[in-house]
Symmetry: D2
Amino acid sequence: MADSPMLDLGRKILASQPFSAFLGAELLNLADGAAELGVPIRPEFAQQHGFVHGGIVSYAADNALTFAGGTVLGTAVVTSEFKINYLRPARGVLLVARATVVHHGRRQAVCRCDVFASENGNETPCATAQGTIVRLAAPR
Amino acid sequence: MADSPMLDLGRKILASQPFSAFLGAELLNLADGAAELGVPIRPEFAQQHGFVHGGIVSYAADNALTFAGGTVLGTAVVTSEFKINYLRPARGVLLVARATVVHHGRRQAVCRCDVFASENGNETPCATAQGTIVRLAAPR
Amino acid sequence: MADSPMLDLGRKILASQPFSAFLGAELLNLADGAAELGVPIRPEFAQQHGFVHGGIVSYAADNALTFAGGTVLGTAVVTSEFKINYLRPARGVLLVARATVVHHGRRQAVCRCDVFASENGNETPCATAQGTIVRLAAPR
Amino acid sequence: MADSPMLDLGRKILASQPFSAFLGAELLNLADGAAELGVPIRPEFAQQHGFVHGGIVSYAADNALTFAGGTVLGTAVVTSEFKINYLRPARGVLLVARATVVHHGRRQAVCRCDVFASENGNETPCATAQGTIVRLAAPR
């Protein structure tokens, strides 16, 4: 099956973020009100105890939140703020961040995101986040 | 003047985080209740509009919060949760995250962090964060 | 049907909180990992535009989070921190805060809460929250 | 010395909030970018252990944040979201919430707030908060 036009567009936007390309992030799914971002785990993403560094986990949450918000607000959006709780040390082969829109108006969307670490086909929840995505003001 | 033993120790810990080495982060200062982390800005840290990606800004905030908490709780600490508000698009040559301990007990510390983008010697505030650092439970 | 022992115990604890009695809050449900708190809306709970004041909404979220956490951690718990996004102005006859445990260990639970305003049998989401509930340290 | 016109206006707005009147909150100070809100502690504000209920502490933080934001955005503002960390059990005769604007644009302000419990002239920090205040959209 062909990917949806929304997912295609989302992948173009992700590819235009040098930092996301640098980390190797992939958009796994994008639909009305929902985004799924994957980050294959590499050795250089670790912290001192061998687990995935929180900075990668929060990147994944932040970016998935933004993409979810973008599905209802349009492509010119940024994360205004978010909060993240780390639940468990993350290890495995893939981080998956799944974000959904909880509520949105014309200007902003409140979204949630769960981040999982996947290994041997098992997903373990490792963080949960909540944040606000805002539409960039049009140039005047 | 020689660096303090605390700063030396902090730099060893930072160097033992593969992700921090991968990003090129540096510990600029570490003292009782305060940490200053610098991240030289590279082109691959950008988002699609050319500014520094929020994921780098939140990495810097998260890690500075952890190091600040570590100055009062000991070296075996992790960020349990944090919240970040992005204030302005970040651009320049260096991100600087300055975190301080607001309050701490034996087991956890509540810390704040301001993140600045530095260019031509001028610092612009680009994010502010607040979070909880917890001591890892001793193995039993 | 008789109420569960857990709900009975929860109601005793809620009744022992003078502030909850002062506001007229009621525990509607309490089960493993979930709490539902109701606050009948009174005119004195308004802000200047006639909607329910955010302070009541955040009280309801905070307390529902604590009770949800208590179902997995025991009765000696407090909210350590939480974050709330207000979604819509709240009005109606009843605020309902529904909290669930996302993840917990022995010492703390991360919980989410949705707050609704109920009027004429319709519920409107008005806030969403996420926070950490911690077990009080035993006296030593 | 006469109170400033800004403080006078703030007190009128606070008085127009039935919930703030119900709790007995007072605006102690209001200036460009800063607000100080006091809540005299009454027995009915307690939780089950005799300390001030978190719901009152978060009300004070939330409202002080809103007033601080209002000093730079105008009077038609609401708290969009905030996060609070409780630091210590609060007891005493007066809660004091001091909020300041960290950064603001035309549409929103990011503010911080520290809440203290005052007893015998001593102030003890009991919570710290950070949030976003937004200007209400003009009717169209």
